[in-house]
Symmetry: C2
Subunit: 426 residues, 2 copies
């Protein structure tokens, strides 16, 4: 599609203001915002009256294929959950399970307004296929467990993934290296990963300081925090997307700032797994870039970024007993502009601005939750539902039109995912 016009939209601009406007998209890029040139020849015009256009949500941390395990094991202690439920089933997953689990996740993400997701799992070429086919944007990393027998093989797969998929699908796919965590990847392995990543200029996606236990064990074993240990291994020299970072000290935050480590904050997952509450207001104050993520559906249990916006705005208010922290616009930015920066795409997505890729989510404001309209941003963060997402554009292409997926056979995905999920837990 050469030219797409979003006509009469209510547009959330970078400065937080909201104005009635038109958005003209040329191929994959936002060409102009404002009055329509009457001579403009558009290939498609979408009437966006009473629709709010925001930058598409960026889910900065998830494990898409795990969606096959949604509701399989909840309300359990972490190690009991992993050892007796999650890992045994994951060990049975086949390549096609990864594909259909990812398709299920992507279908949900597009329908709830997410245009980019950062994923860490195995068989990532199949996730890459799903991203390629569906038209969403993906930041993919091969999850590597350094202490596992297949640690070296996983690293080799991440190297191959980078070679074959980085900048693939019209640039919609980028690839990072995915060492799982300090407690599953010894320092030598991390040094090796950092070396391989630097060879090709790749960044790192890693779980850091998710639980108190992880930090305590790291202190015992290495006499330093996971954050300090990462600095020592060279991981932070690569550019890092750090998932969770719940238990970080002021000193840790200073190290993270020094290396511009970006944080994927997952309030829903941290709450459900009782991991703790990350010091997000302190991180923001220190100038860290913080995006939002859902984590996998085994610990959330959906991929709803607007829910995370709501959670991040509420959780830190009650945790600090300060109703002014993480106001509505900050929550929305963490899910869009800051999220884009967090996954390394801040120069091309995360804003509705001229020259940016056209990754746009449109909410239908003809719902009760948007009435009355005293403040649109407040309505978005505190009242609206992801089910109000009407239309989603990624890279200039419409992936959801009036609630209907255009690139995914939803019925088939539900059928395949459901059958495969039931077979896995038999």
């Amino acid at each position: 599609m050469a030219k797409l016009l979003l006509k009469n939209a209510t547009v959330l601009l970078e400065d937080g203001s909201v104005k009635e406007s038109n958005i003209l998209i040329d191929n994959d890029t936002i060409e102009s915002i404002g009055n329509i040139d009457e001579n403009c020849q558009c290939d498609k015009i979408l009437d966006c009256t009473n629709k709010l256009a925001i930058p598409g949500f960026v889910n900065t941390h998830t494990h898409a294929a795990m969606t096959l395990l949604r509701s399989y094991a909840d309300d359990m202690q972490l190690m009991d959950w992993l050892e007796n439920k999650i890992w045994p089933v994951e060990a049975k997953m086949k390549s096609d399970d990864i594909y259909w689990g990812s398709m299920l996740a992507i279908a949900e993400m597009i329908k709830t307004g997410t245009t980019t997701f950062a994923d860490m799992y195995s068989e990532m070429d199949r996730v890459g296929d799903a991203v390629t086919e569906t038209g969403i944007r993906g930041v993919l990393s091969r999850g590597m467990i350094g202490v596992a027998p297949n640690g070296q093989q996983a690293l080799q797969e991440n190297i191959e993934l980078y070679k074959n998929y980085h900048n693939a699908a019209d640039g919609r796919i980028t690839v990072m290296f995915g060492p799982h965590a300090p407690y599953t990847c010894p320092p030598d392995f991390l040094r090796q990963v950092a070396g391989e990543a630097q060879k090709v200029g790749a960044e790192i996606h890693i779980h850091l300081s998710e639980t108190i236990g992880e930090v305590e064990n790291c202190m015992k074993q290495y006499n330093m925090s996971p954050i300090a240990l990462m600095e020592e291994t060279g991981i932070f020299d690569c550019g890092v997307l750090a998932a969770h970072s719940v238990h970080v000290s002021e000193k840790d935050i200073a190290i993270m700032k020094k290396y511009n480590v970006r944080v994927a904050h997952n309030p829903g997952s941290n709450m459900k797994l009782a991991s703790g509450i990350a010091p997000i207001p302190a991180m923001l104050k220190a100038g860290l870039c913080v995006g939002l993520g859902t984590d996998g559906t085994s610990s959330n249990n959906n991929l709803d970024m607007l829910e995370e916006v709501n959670l991040v705005t509420l959780l830190h208010k009650v945790n600090t007993l300060d109703p002014l922290v993480v106001p509505a616009l900050t929550g929305v930015k963490m899910a869009t502009e800051y999220g884009a920066k967090t996954v390394g795409l801040g120069n091309i997505v995360g804003k509705i601005a001229i020259g940016y890729k056209a990754d746009i989510t449109l909410f239908n404001m003809n719902h009760i939750q948007w009435c009355p309209k005293h403040d649109i941003v407040s309505l978005l963060a505190y009242s609206a539902k992801s089910s109000h997402v009407d239309t989603v554009v990624v890279n200039g292409k419409i992936l959801l039109e009036h609630g209907r997926l255009t690139t995914i056979d939803e019925e088939r995905v539900l059928y395949e995912a459901s059958n495969r999920a039931m077979n896995l837990v038999k």
Copy 2:
């Protein structure tokens, strides 16, 4: 309608189990659950294949008419918010504003699966009218500020409200007395309210121990906690629905248990206003009855009970660092069975059981968030969205059918509410 059959539903039963079944409703009451009598002559049959039937949600604490102020004032300090934003606008509200604000709230509540709400506000006869017309169930109380010039008048209005509306609308309306809070109602006023309530056998709906400041001031002024003060005034002898109860000690909980005080827990509001985190696991352990509420939309900002289920299951896990507290079924029960007990209707609603009033919410499980179906209750609490509510029955009458309100002209409500809201803040 004499006989309504919900055919082939997936039914959430009192013990937490879920089974495929039929629900036969005779007039306003659940007559049978199970196999259909082939000779059954039904006036209407709803095919409920792949629909989950749960007891309708009970919103144990809200201020419906305030929905006109949704998104009007957020991200503010409590007193700044009240004094400079909320109170000045409330002072301008006319009787018709109360009516249309309540209609807006009721429309949202029905569409998101709520079948009963406990309300506290002024001009409650207009809320009573809205309840009567729409078919929802309401537990109404006149909010009384004892220190205000109109304190005695408000009490008189509550007495009148009881006289005119208690057990009205086929029993769908019950009335409580609504002294606002210990910090706005001096002990003498509370004694007077308790006396009037006891004369007619009414219960009390009151805000208790919402903020640290409230408790500290009460300790200073009376040398006892708000809970202990209530015992002293005789309020607790009436049967009490206590909203919030965030800052309560073990001793307070013991007093509450002694009088069977039921708690309306409002996690969303408590988080957004940074009031604090109520010790819900301790209350449940002590055997207190705890229901869920949304509070008003000025401090939430919607009336979505499923969102509160999600919040209550997540918030207390992270607050106690224990992933086992408030599991999925407990969260759901707090929004249904326990909620019904909390508002004094435990004998007639809150369960899908023979002899109970037919207040039933049906979720359409043909949505991605319900796939795969390893555990239905877990899906409901952790993944589903209120937008999946398909059909709602109250007192045997269908108020929402396949997403369409049957007793409310939604377009007119949005129009009236929106106009009136904008005029109020001019």
